[in-house]
């Protein structure tokens, strides 16, 4: 899967499942402060990532993911490693 394809897929579920607007999805946006993804939302992210990309995220992996770009990079690296 190409990087762009992965990013589009991530954006799609953030819009569909998390009800974010497309123009909110700026790579520098903070997941917590700007996109208002809270600790419970991370539990749902684990489920959605597994459904979309087939791998399981450990809760502690989210500790270093601050911005949307960090999130894209993490998904890309895990998706390609699988």
């Amino acid at each position: 899967m190409e990087n762009k394809e992965i990013i589009n897929k991530v954006n799609d579920f953030l819009i569909d499942e998390f009800e974010l607007e497309e123009d909110q999805l700026i790579p520098t946006a903070s997941l917590k402060e700007t996109l208002e993804i809270d600790s419970l939302d991370y539990v749902d992210l684990v489920v959605i990532i597994e459904r979309n990309f087939g791998f399981k995220v450990k809760g502690e992996d989210f500790a270093t993911i601050k911005s949307l770009q960090d999130f894209y990079d993490y998904i890309i690296s895990r998706a390609k490693a699988n």
């Binding site: 499942e17 998390f18 009800e19 809270d38 419970l40 939302d41 539990v43 749902d44 684990v46 489920v47 597994e50 399981k56 809760g59």
Partner: protein, 407 residues
């Protein structure tokens, strides 16, 4: 001691999704019962159930507010929005006053079943999502509504089987009467899905008159063959008289009596003494004689033994001349954890609009129901100043509420 009044009502039920629709259905004797073929495929003895659509709350509530809400929570949200609106309680009011919530609920099975099906498949609890735990607890309604409406008062769920909603109002009455709280959102909610009803169906207590769903719920009728499970949610705003007057709220009715008892007997078979004791206690609390009650909304679910014993309990307390009696479960089916609250609303609507809703499908009495003055048809132009509503549940829990027209 404070006087306790009702300043708002809201409902989402099989006979109407708001107060106006429900009032029309009650007046015309409309049934909310249908047949769900899936139940038969799953091995249910009866495919009969109340029929109710899920409200669509997308756009109305944020995702985080919705993911932890089970079906009965969604019903309760819709009912509570209507009740708060009628009570003229807005967001600013909720942010500045201590409003409580006491809601009846006694199961939230669907989320439990679905998450364990998923766990067996995935073998990883991390894949169950964040909402399942909040959906699956008995207190799901109060935990969700207290968060959505930012409530700061008493916050708990009353679980007392089919008397849950009635006891919730009774508890709210006492909290306000004693001055502990000024305003409490009270009510009852009931899931209507098959997940919650399989084990109850297994007791063979449900009607199997599947060829005539709308004639299946026949409380007090000689040929009744069991109850029809149903659901929804009903909310009443209880408030101290002083608070209602001070803020200029419209007072709908006054709660004047609450009686309760426990049978101390069989887990599922009711008796006569326990319900009679609850009725008598409510009358005593309201400082009334039985002859002053204008209408009884019976618990009668259409099970052979339950109706028989309630008819005897009513006769024991009211003697040979009973007021009009009807079981609105003939139309709604048995709303279980919700029923004690919805039946207060049904009866208040009759009181406000001067009629007695019919006990539909009452064609022939049995030896005990023939002693009651059962309204088989709508009794039009009938003044109700005071009514009594009974609710009884598994474990022998009994609750009786008396409500008076506000003058």
């Amino acid at each position: 001691m404070n006087r306790v009044v009702i300043t708002g009502m809201g409902i989402y039920s099989t006979i109407g999704k708001n107060i106006e629709e429900v009032n029309n259905s009650l007046y015309t004797g409309k049934s909310g019962i249908g047949f769900e073929p899936l139940r038969k495929e799953l091995g249910f003895r009866s495919g009969l159930t109340g029929i109710l659509d899920q409200p669509n709350l997308k756009g109305e509530l944020k995702r985080r507010q919705r993911v932890g809400m089970a079906e009965e929570g969604e019903y309760a949200y819709v009912a509570t929005i209507e009740a708060l609106k009628q009570a003229k309680i807005d967001d600013d009011f909720l942010d500045t006053r201590d409003v409580g919530i006491l809601y009846g609920n006694d199961s939230s099975a669907k989320s439990v079943v679905e998450s364990y099906d998923l766990l067996r498949e995935k073998k990883d609890t991390a894949l169950l999502g964040s909402g399942a735990i909040f959906q699956s607890m008995n207190s799901t309604i109060t935990m969700n509504l207290s968060t959505i409406f930012r409530l700061r008062g008493i916050n708990l769920t009353v679980s007392a089987a089919c008397a849950s909603g009635s006891h919730a109002i009774g508890m709210g009455y006492h909290f306000i009467k004693s001055g502990l709280q000024d305003i409490i959102i009270c009510g009852g909610g009931q899931e209507i899905n098959y997940h919650s009803m399989g084990s109850f169906d297994g007791l063979a207590a449900f009607s199997i008159r599947e060829n005539e769903p709308q004639k299946a719920s026949r409380p007090f009728d000689r040929d009744r063959d069991g109850l029809v499970p149903s659901g929804g949610a009903a909310t009443v705003i209880l408030e101290s008289y002083e608070s209602a007057i001070k803020r200029g709220a419209t007072i709908i009715a006054e709660v004047i009596g609450y009686g309760f008892s426990s049978n101390g007997d069989h887990i599922s078979v009711p008796n006569v003494e326990g319900p009679a004791k609850s009725l008598e206690m409510a009358l005593k609390d309201a400082q009334l004689r039985a002859s002053q009650i204008d209408y009884i909304n019976a618990h009668a679910t259409a099970t052979p033994v339950g109706d028989l014993n309630e008819a005897q309990a009513i006769s024991k307390v009211f003697g040979a001349r009973t007021p009009y009696v009807s079981s609105t479960k003939s139309m709604t089916g048995h709303e279980m954890w919700m029923g004690g609250a919805s039946e207060i609303i049904y009866s208040v609507l009759m009181m406000q609009n001067s009629y007695v809703a019919p006990n539909i499908n009452f064609e022939n009495p049995d030896e005990y129901s023939e002693k009651l003055n059962i309204a088989a048809e709508t009794i039009k132009n009938h003044n109700i100043d005071i009514f009594l509503s009974n609710s009884f549940g598994f474990g022998g829990t009994n609750s009786s509420l008396i409500v008076k027209k506000f003058k």
